[in-house]
Symmetry: C2
Subunit: 491 residues, 2 copies
């Protein structure tokens, strides 16, 4: 048997000098990108055209590429940056993706190269320790009992919502994990009650978990588009009459559509009274907890059973970085129950005690906490609180501006950094208003100066602005309104 | 109302010069890390001690940090790199995490900063196009019908396995998504048949999906630890007699324990015959498809219904980067069925046609494909094929070395880059062998020179080596055996 030999191509691809050169080249491009505060939206390219451009940048050698082509890499990176959503530009006001704090991108670069999976302590020691530290740090603002709560990171808010609902399902129907939900005794039909504006991932989780999307009980909203607390008990009674066994109540701390905050204290009282699991989808709004000025919007958060919190939204780190908190650590162990000899240790130790592979869905998990923890370690909570407070203030100011315009209609007072409104110049007929908003959104997008989104509010389309960038000023918002007016005239 | 003002701290944190400086500092550290080819395992630190060290590096200012502290950032990054699994060292032979191709880490850095979520074309145009291109490129080695198959990226192999099983469940039991599995008619008990060595995420998926972990039918293995094809039909018949309604068969292309490849062609015949969904967990081994020398291990892959393929394992890119292929594009639409006005467009267009948010679990999805596509664009398949072939050759060579040692016992001929064996010096009693392997693994770990794993084979502990690093030579493997002998003597 002959000794295996490394190929020249392999040696080149792992060459450290090449690594430095490509990183330097990319860094220069990112620096220029971050420094570019021009107002721009999307540069929308037809997929077929972009595919041709991308294909043209690929090596034509099937088996043996020529020497590393720096110029081609530079073109690829340029194309990548240019054709994406411009989260760092003041023209970007459209979604909840965030322009990251640059340092968190740098830390994530370390994570990409050292590639420490963080479901197991021995593979990524500092990420596991950082998770515990961040759990304690953030719990100062939640208020769970220190020492008996739990937190795991997971790959996105949808996965956090699924995991929480799974824990709730396993608690209410202990046999389902092992024997399947087809053997739930009697006429029981497990169901989940949610606010009518809950994120789609919750209904999706019900479909996945074998609960059934139709078993979602949509609770009516009040004028502020929060769950109408006075109508919760009657709605639950009605669900029970229809044979639904509601075991879980999902509240939103920051709905996706308008950023409304459900009244957690009142809902916690209902949940306690009826032995329901109370989960809060705080993907967007949980970050308001770090602000003394805004924390009150989540009053009662210390009484909920679980909380999903996307740090990649309002903590401004690369996606995904989601934190799933449980009030009761023991209950957090109920999500998954498994053995696998190659990962789970039979003999627990001080080391394996920090493993999260039995409490989070992923086997290989990105050490996502690092980009958050390092920001926190360097800046404390001040950075987050100041940015969030600025964005919420900016949004309230935008609301005030809208109120002064006779051709715009606001749909709610902004609780956070999301505001929905309609453009209604007098020459647009009543029955054309909805279609007109969609048209406006698309025209603004194609003009390429601003990026906003659309949303249905009470079934009628509206324009939606999400303020994620502190480089946006009230002047930029005024410019957006002018852009909308121009778009309205354009054919 | 007063105009909102950006704070000084915010301006500093987003300062482009600071970004450059911190990136330069981190780059120098990563360069040094990659250049360090010393043989090392884990530097295992007690969690309490590491927590103190980490806490000491955090700002003490609660609300107003002092000027940015470069030295502290440098210490944090040093600690991060040092305390992780050393995937780039030849001493690392223990798991399926990979030392990434450095360029893929650089590309992932771009992804971290530009933060383009890739479930929707308009947010990340190039990632969406790159997904289609990579799907076509890799399908050359799979062999699905061009134009009618589908591929989505998703956050890890566990999520890909769950998504595939969900698609299979929704196909076999169409009412479950909407009405829940408690209403499956009659005495039907949905079940999934798997090889006895299947990854734990498949049983976990059954627990999650309401199928039930106990409804996993474990098919017996042959001498090579593949599903024993001759015993599949009898096992399925027996399951049916017990009232189980098997709707899905899960094969492994590279089992986690020993790297065995199930015989896909034979299993596809069974699946067709009985109208079962055939899913392949190729998280580890699907990458062998790009090698002309090794592709034959997956013979029949063109006949399966779905395939999970972790590029963050044997394609050597940062985790997570998982590709989920479906033979039939139409069926891939069956995983999730939803509407959400703020993301899903009512009016499909050439742009929204590329959206994957209705076909992958995540709402915000990292543009994970970019690190893979750019490598492919720069190097073609040669880089991957050459690395994988080297690793598999190295592992066969390691097997040959083990066969020559009287104090070691091999447990299988390596099909890929995983090999399991036991250290059995004559002075260890027969009934101590299992405990001795666990002890050896732990001692090797604590000595800190090498990192290997342990696994149970037929219920008895064994040592496990996974060759993920082409910088490992046969000489390194000889050194590992000596290290094991030394560890055996140490008390």
């Amino acid at each position: 048997m002959t000794e295996p030999l490394q190929s020249g191509l392999l040696i080149e691809a792992f060459d450290v000098q090449l690594f430095r050169e490509s990183a330097e080249s990319v860094l220069a491009k990112l620096e220029k990108h971050l420094a570019d505060l021009s107002i721009r939206g999307l540069e929308l390219v037809e997929p077929a055209q972009l595919t041709r451009a991308a294909r043209a940048l690929m090596t034509k050698e099937r088996d043996r590429p020529a020497a590393f082509d720096e110029a081609r890499l530079a073109e690829i990176v340029d194309l990548y940056i240019r054709t994406g959503v411009q989260v760092h530009s003041p023209g970007y006001m459209g979604r909840q993706f965030s322009g990251v704090v640059p340092l968190s991108g740098v830390v994530d670069f370390v994570s990409s190269v050292v590639n420490q999976p963080s479901s197991f302590y021995e593979a990524g020691q500092l990420p596991n320790v950082a998770e515990r530290i961040m759990a304690d740090e953030l719990n100062q603002f939640i208020g769970f009992e220190p020492g008996t709560f739990a937190m795991v990171t997971t790959s996105g808010g949808s996965l956090a919502n699924l995991t929480a609902l799974l824990t709730a399902r396993n608690r209410a129907f202990p046999g389902v994990w092992s024997r399947g939900s087809s053997e739930i005794p009697g006429p029981s039909r497990p169901a989940v009650a949610v606010g009518a504006d809950v994120h789609y991932s919750v209904a999706r989780a019900a479909g996945i978990l074998g609960i059934g999307e139709d078993r979602i009980v949509r609770l009516p909203l009040d004028a502020e588009r929060r769950i109408d607390v006075r109508r919760v008990r009657p709605a639950l009674d009605e669900a029970a009459r229809q044979g639904l066994d509601v075991f879980c109540l999902v509240a939103s701390a920051g709905t996706t559509a308008v950023g409304a905050f459900d009244r957690l204290d009142a809902l916690a009282a209902v949940a306690r009274e009826r032995d329901l699991w109370l989960h809060v989808d705080g993907a967007h709004g949980a970050s308001l907890l770090v602000s003394d000025e805004l924390r009150h919007k989540l009053r009662g958060i210390d009484q909920v059973d679980s909380l999903a919190w996307d740090a990649h939204k309002m903590m401004f780190v690369p996606a995904p970085c989601t934190l799933l908190f449980y009030r009761d650590r023991e209950r957090s162990r109920g999500a998954f129950r498994q053995t696998a000899s190659y990962v789970f240790d039979d003999q627990p130790s001080v080391y394996t005690e920090l493993d999260s592979g039995d409490k989070n869905f992923e086997c290989t998990k990105r050490p996502m906490i690092m980009s958050l923890w390092v920001l926190w370690a360097m800046y404390g909570r001040a950075l987050f609180a100041e940015k969030i407070e600025y964005l919420c203030r900016l949004t309230r100011y935008a609301h005030a501006i809208l109120e002064e315009q006779s051709d715009f209609e606001t749909l709610h007072y902004p609780e956070a950094n999301i505001i929905c409104f309609r453009y209604r110049p007098e020459w647009v007929d009543e029955d054309e208003v909805a279609r007109f908003q969609v048209e406006i959104r698309n025209r603004v997008k194609h003009r390429g100066n601003f990026f906003i989104s659309k949303v249905d509010v009470d079934g009628v389309a509206a324009l939606r602005v999400v303020m994620m960038n502190h480089q946006i000023t009230t002047g930029h918002f005024q410019m957006l309104l002018d852009e909308i007016r121009k778009a309205g005239k354009a054919q």
